[in-house]
C-alpha cells in the first residue's frame, strides 16, 4: 500500500484518526468518490538467504500492502538425505549423522538415536549412563534455548540479550569440547553407552556454569520480559488455540504456550524423569510472548534438573558390560585374545538387531523428537531410519499463524517457533 493510500484513508473518515482523534485536514474532500487506484496483491520472496528466516528457509508471501495474505514456505535447501544415508551405515556409524541434523542441540539428537536402538534391541544401559545422558540433554536444552532467545531478541531489535546469551553458550561449547572433543559435532553416544566417561573435573565445570548462569538469565529476563517494545511485538501475535495447536501437530514449548501441558518427559517418561522434581511451564494465550515465557521458564527448570542430576550421579561403569555391544578397552584388545575377537566382530559386522520396529519419542529442545527404526532379523543396519522432526511440523503451521499479520510480525512468528533448518530438511 503506498503512502498516498494511507493518507487518503485517514482523511476520508474523520473518526478514523491514527491516535483516535478527529483528523481535520483531509487531503481529499469527503464527498469525493473513492478513486480506483488499481491496487493488487504483491508477491514477495523472502530467503533462502535471509537472516530473519534463521537458516535456508524460503517464504513466498502474498501481500496486500503490508498485510500478509498468504505464506508459502519452501524447504529442502539443506536436504542431505540422512535417512537414506543411514540405511547404508551400521548402528554406531549413524551417530555422527544425528548431531549434524540439529546443530543447536547435538547431544539431544545423539542420545535419542541410541535410545531408540537400545529400546529396539532391549538393551538396558547403566545407571551412570542414564544420568550422564540426562545431563547432556538438559544442558543442550539450555544451549538451544539460548540461541533461540538471542536470535529472536535480535529480530525484534534487542541486541544486548544476544550478546549475553552467546557468552553463556560459549561456556556450554567449552563443556562440549571438554567432554567430546568437538564443539558442535559431538557424536558422544554409542549403542549401550557413551563414547567415553566424563573427564575428571568436568562436573565442576558444569557446576560453575550452573552457579552463574541463572544470574545472566535473570538479567536477560529484566531486559525483555517487561520491555514495552518486546511486549508490543510479541503479545497477541501469532496466537493459536489449544485445540488447533494439537490438531496441527504443535509440540514442545509452542504447544505448552497454548495451555496444553504435554511434555514427553512427564507423559511418556524415560530415564527416570518421573523421579526428578521439575515443573512444566504452560502459557495461556498461545502467542509469541507466551512461547517466550515458556522457554525462559524451561531454562530455569533445566538448571534445577541439572543440579539434581549432578547430585545423584552414581559411579560405576558407563558402558554395558556385554562384549557383543560395547567395545573392549584398548589394553584388553592388545593383551586378550577374546577381547580382540569381539573388537574385530563389532567393527567389521556391527551389532545384530532383532526383527521389528520401534518409535521412541523424547522431549527435544524444539518439541517432540522421535526416532523410528525398522530392522530385520540380525540386521546390523536399519531397513528404515526415520526422524520425526519437531521443527518441520511446527513450521507447517506458520502459514496459518502469519495470516493477516504484518510482514514484520511474520519475522517474529517465524522466530518464535524455534526452528532449525538442518533438522527440517535432514
Amino acid at each position: 500500500m503506498s503512502k498516498r493510500t494511507v493518507e487518503f484513508n485517514v482523511g476520508r473518515n474523520p473518526e478514523m484518526g491514527v491516535d483516535g482523534s478527529v483528523v481535520d485536514s483531509p487531503i481529499f474532500p469527503f464527498d469525493m468518490p473513492e478513486p480506483d487506484l488499481g491496487t493488487e496483491n504483491m508477491l514477495i520472496n523472502i530467503g533462502p538467504q535471509h537472516p530473519a528466516t534463521h537458516g535456508v528457509l524460503r517464504l513466498v508471501c502474498e501481500l496486500d500492502g503490508e498485510t500478509v495474505k498468504r505464506v508459502i514456505p519452501h524447504i529442502g535447501y539443506l536436504h542431505s538425505s540422512f535417512e537414506k544415508l543411514g540405511e547404508y551405515r551400521t548402528w554406531n556409524q549413524i551417530v555422527p549423522l544425528t548431531d549434524r541434523m540439529d546443530y543447536l542441540a547435538p547431544l539431544i539428537y545423539n542420545c535419542v538415536y541410541v535410545m531408540t536402538v537400545e529400546k529396539l534391541m532391549g538393551i538396558e544401559v547403566t545407571e551412570r549412563c542414564k544420568v550422564v545422558r540426562v545431563i547432556c540433554m538438559e544442558m543442550d536444552r539450555i544451549f538451544s534455548h539460548l540461541l533461540w532467545l538471542g536470535t529472536t531478541a535480535i529480530d525484534v531489535g534487542a541486541f544486548t540479550p544476544f550478546l549475553y546469551a552467546f557468552q553463556e553458550r560459549e561456556r556450554i561449547y567449552q563443556l562440549h569440547e571438554a567432554f567430546t572433543g568437538a564443539r558442535i559435532t559431538t557424536s558422544a553416544t554409542r549403542v549401550g553407552g557413551m563414547m567415553a566417561d566424563l573427564p575428571e573435573g568436568w562436573t565442576n565445570g558444569l557446576q560453575d556454569f550452573l552457579d552463574t548462569f541463572p544470574k545472566t538469565l535473570e538479567e536477560i529476563d529484566r531486559l525483555l520480559t517487561r520491555n514495552q517494545i518486546h511486549i508490543g511485538r510479541s503479545q497477541g501475535i501469532g496466537a493459536i488455540s489449544a485445540e488447533d495447536a494439537i490438531n496441527s501437530g504443535f509440540t514442545g514449548a509452542n504447544l505448552r504456550a497454548c495451555g496444553v501441558d504435554y511434555d514427553v518427559r512427564k507423559d511418556q517418561p524415560y530415564y527416570d524423569y518421573e523421579t526428578y522434581d521439575f515443573e512444566i511451564p504452560v502459557g495461556q494465550y498461545g502467542d509469541c510472548y507466551d512461547r517466550y515465557l515458556c522457554r525462559m521458564e524451561e531454562m530455569r527448570q533445566s538448571v534445577s534438573l541439572l543440579r539434581q542430576a549432578l547430585e545423584r550421579l552414581p559411579g560405576g561403569p558407563i558402558d554395558v558390560e556385554d562384549p557383543n555391544i560395547s567395545l573392549p578397552s584398548k589394553t584388553d584388545c592388545m593383551s586378550d585374545m577374546e577381547s580382540m575377537i569381539h573388537h574385530f566382530k563389532l567393527i567389521t559386522e556391527g551389532i545384530p538387531a532383532p526383527e521389528g520396529d520401534c518409535y521412541m519419542p523424547i522431549e527435544g529442545s524444539k518439541g517432540e523428537l522421535g526416532m523410528y527404526i525398522v530392522a530385520e532379523e540380525g540386521g546390523t543396519k536399519p531397513v528404515r531410519w526415520r526422524i520425526r522432526p519437531p521443527s518441520l511440523v511446527n513450521l507447517s503451521v506458520l502459514p496459518k499463524l502469519a495470516e493477516e499479520h504484518l510482514v514484520s510480525d511474520l519475522v517474529m512468528i517465524n522466530a518464535s517457533l524455534d526452528i532449525v533448518l538442518g533438522e527440517i530438511d535432514r
Binding site: L85, Y88, N247
Partner: protein
C-alpha cells in the same frame, strides 16, 4: 587398492542394503496378545475384518495393520471415540523393504487424554501406491504426507496440496527413499549440477505463485525478470 576393487566397493554401495525376501514385519495375519492395549482390543472388535495383523514390538509398542482402503474411517474413529481419543498424530511415514514387497504407510498416534500410543500401519502394493489423505482429520498430516509422497511416491487421495516438499518441485529422478533408488541419484553428476543451477523462473516458483505474480495486463509473468527481482 586396485581400480577394480574400488569399483566393486562403489557398486556395493550403489546396491544398497542386502535384504532377504522372507516375511519380515508384515501383516502376516497373526494377532499377538492384545490384552495389554485397550484400543487394540476395541479395534479388533469393531474393525475385525479390516485388521490384518497385530504385534508387539520393542517390548511394549503395539502395532496394528489395517486395510489401506479403510484408513480414514479407522483413524477417524480412533480420534473421536470417547474411550480412545487419539488426538495427536505424532508422525506419518512409510517403510520400503525392497525386494518387491509392499510399501507400508505408518501412522504414529498418541492420546493426550489417556497418555497412550498406538501405531497403525497400512500395506500398499507397489502397483497401487494410493491411500486416502487424513489432512481432514489432522492438519499436521499435510506436510508429513507431502514428505511421504516426495520420498516414496505414495499418492494421497484428496490431499489439498500434494507436491514435493524436500526435493525441488520439478525433480524428475524419482523417489529417493525407495530401495531401488541409487544412493547417488539416477542422473549423471553433470546433469544434476546443470539442473541444480537452472535459473529459469519455472524452476524457482510453483504454478500457483506464477499465477499470483502475473500482471493481469500482461501475458508474461513479471516475476523473476530483469526489471523486477521478484
Amino acid at each position: 587398492m586396485t581400480l577394480d576393487e574400488t569399483k566393486a566397493g562403489l557398486d556395493a554401495v550403489e546396491e544398497g542394503p542386502h535384504l532377504s525376501e522372507k516375511s519380515m514385519g508384515s501383516s502376516d495375519g497373526k494377532i499377538a496378545d492384545p490384552d495389554g492395549h485397550p484400543s487394540v482390543v476395541a479395534l479388533l472388535l469393531r474393525f475385525g475384518d479390516s485388521v490384518s495383523g497385530h504385534r508387539v514390538s520393542a517390548g511394549t509398542q503395539h502395532v496394528v495393520w489395517i486395510d489401506s482402503a479403510r484408513n480414514l474411517e479407522v483413524l477417524h474413529w480412533l480420534r473421536d471415540d470417547q474411550d480412545h481419543q487419539y488426538d495427536m498424530i505424532s508422525d506419518i511415514t512409510a517403510v520400503d523393504y525392497g525386494a518387491g514387497r509392499p510399501i507400508d504407510v505408518v501412522y504414529q498416534l498418541f492420546s493426550t487424554v489417556y497418555k497412550r500410543a498406538l501405531r497403525i500401519r497400512c500395506e500398499l502394493p507397489l502397483d497401487g501406491l494410493e491411500i486416502d489423505s487424513i489432512v481432514e482429520l489432522w492438519s499436521a498430516a499435510n506436510w508429513l504426507e507431502r514428505e511421504v509422497y516426495d520420498l516414496f511416491g505414495v499418492t494421497f487421495r484428496k490431499h489439498p496440496d500434494l507436491r514435493r516438499i524436500l526435493m525441488p518441485h520439478d525433480y524428475e529422478e524419482g523417489h529417493p527413499l525407495r530401495k531401488d533408488f541409487p544412493l547417488r541419484g539416477r542422473f549423471s553428476r553433470a546433469e544434476q549440477t546443470r539442473r541444480a543451477l537452472d535459473q529459469s523462473v519455472e524452476h524457482s516458483y510453483i504454478a500457483e505463485e506464477m499465477d499470483l505474480g502475473r500482471d493481469p495486463q500482461q501475458a508474461v509473468p513479471i516475476i523473476g525478470t530483469k526489471d523486477g527481482d521478484g
